[in-house]
Symmetry: C2
Subunit: 271 residues, 2 copies
């Protein structure tokens, strides 16, 4: 079972949240309740602001439809609104990140450049941009672009003076057959099959569920057992499952009640 005792370590005793729980609420409001310099690792999978063409559905040759990301949590009026939202959560993430901790943000070309620039403007210092090569990604169905076959993870520290951040270099080298791990050595299948959470009708519960293998690599790279991990957009709980399984403590924040319920159930099942 998850450890749900209240914080006892220094920083954490300053707030009333419990370890290894999903907090249902607005990400930015909840983040403000944490003391600064609290988390060893923050993994963020924010909305991508996809801007799909309206009212059109892409179809396969057999007539079946591609289910797009058309969720209300991915809608913004314009770039300005998106940027302000991004600035708000990034400001809080930077504040609650330990000087020895690292921040990971995943995104695609729709959003990652904007997010990256806002990070740099806040003084967040980049270590790498890691390419998750998506095995089994959807091809480009109209033959008008290249296959979108990757997502980008920005790996960063609180500011440019943070030098003693956690990085399990030797472990990663070992995973990579004794060779130094590259920012392009991140090949993982997309989340499908039995791993993909589905409702009673076989419909996927979350449009953008990430593969556990990817999040595990992040956790192994940049945290140690007993460290505290935060995911401010927990969704259906993949980060929590990865953290729990690898002996890390964690806190997740999620706004959608539906996802919170599913995440809780899933985390209990995994124990």
């Amino acid at each position: 079972m998850p450890n749900t005792s209240s914080f006892t370590t220094s920083k954490l005793s300053q707030c009333e949240h419990k370890l290894n729980t999903v907090i249902h609420g607005d990400c930015i409001e909840v983040l403000k309740t944490f003391p600064q310099d609290t988390f060893d690792l923050i993994f963020v999978d924010p909305p991508y602001y996809l801007q799909l063409p309206k009212g059109k559905r892409l179809k396969r040759a057999d007539g079946s439809e591609i289910i797009p990301v058309d969720d209300k949590w991915d809608k913004f009026k314009n770039y300005e609104e998106f940027d302000q939202f991004t600035l708000n959560w990034l400001t809080e993430c930077q504040r609650v990140l330990k000087p020895t901790g690292t921040l990971w943000v995943i995104g695609m070309y729709h959003n990652i450049f904007r997010v990256g620039k806002i990070m740099q403007d806040l003084g967040i210092w980049f270590l790498n941009d890691v390419i998750w090569v998506k095995l089994g990604a959807l091809p480009n169905l109209n033959g008008r672009r290249f296959t979108n076959n990757h997502e980008t993870l920005i790996w960063a520290v609180k500011n440019k003076y943070c030098k003693s951040y956690t990085f399990n270099y030797e472990l990663l080298k070992e995973i990579n057959n004794g060779k130094q791990m590259k920012d392009t050595d991140w090949l993982f299948p997309i989340c499908t099959g039995n791993e993909r959470l589905r409702d009673g009708n076989g419909i996927k519960v979350h449009t953008t569920q990430k593969p556990l293998s990817l999040i595990k690599r992040v956790v192994l790279t940049a945290s140690n057992k007993g460290d505290l991990i935060l995911d401010p957009f927990l969704g259906t709980g993949t980060t929590a499952v990865a953290a729990q399984g690898l002996g890390r403590k964690w806190i997740g924040i999620e706004k959608e009640k539906k996802y919170v319920e599913i995440a809780k159930k899933r985390i209990n099942m995994a124990n």
Copy 2:
């Protein structure tokens, strides 16, 4: 020999520049002399603003020094100055790009996120972000980060309404053994060996010379024979050599007299 006749086609007759020549001058000032909607393909390899630690030189195990990018053209006071510079050349590139043309910008995590956001703010519309996987890249020498093993190319059109841009989909598919080309299928060796331009003392002439193979793929992807290509930061002329060799017309702009001379010599040699 290069075709140095004056422009005869519609747009190009409006200015006095000649085809297939290197223009020595400030990129933004020269760009302003071109009429709008002029170029079929614009390839941009701008300064990366690397912000190296001052006065330190990384050394290999044998004691030899790594020569960093420490050129004056890569220096900026701060992000603000860099952003303004970026906005200036991007504004002009967008203006002179044909509605059927595409714009390519290459960069690394130091600059590409800022550049990408500024592009989006101008209404430039992304098609893909392509990952050049660098074969033979320098490993991370102190084991504190992942190997920097890629650069990112943003591929974009003038605005979101540009649909009939040039994309040689079938050719790229053929190059890729009959499978749709992916944004992660761009594996090319870094520019070394005989391809790397060196002075009489064996010192590399340009710190960031790009491999011809990479630029050729860009040219093949997004232009046809006879099309007009622009490189506003020509450097030592790789884009010109690629364009010339593939039967495209081209214009290059370069501020550093040293690079202009070398590029001219190199282009003549290649003919």
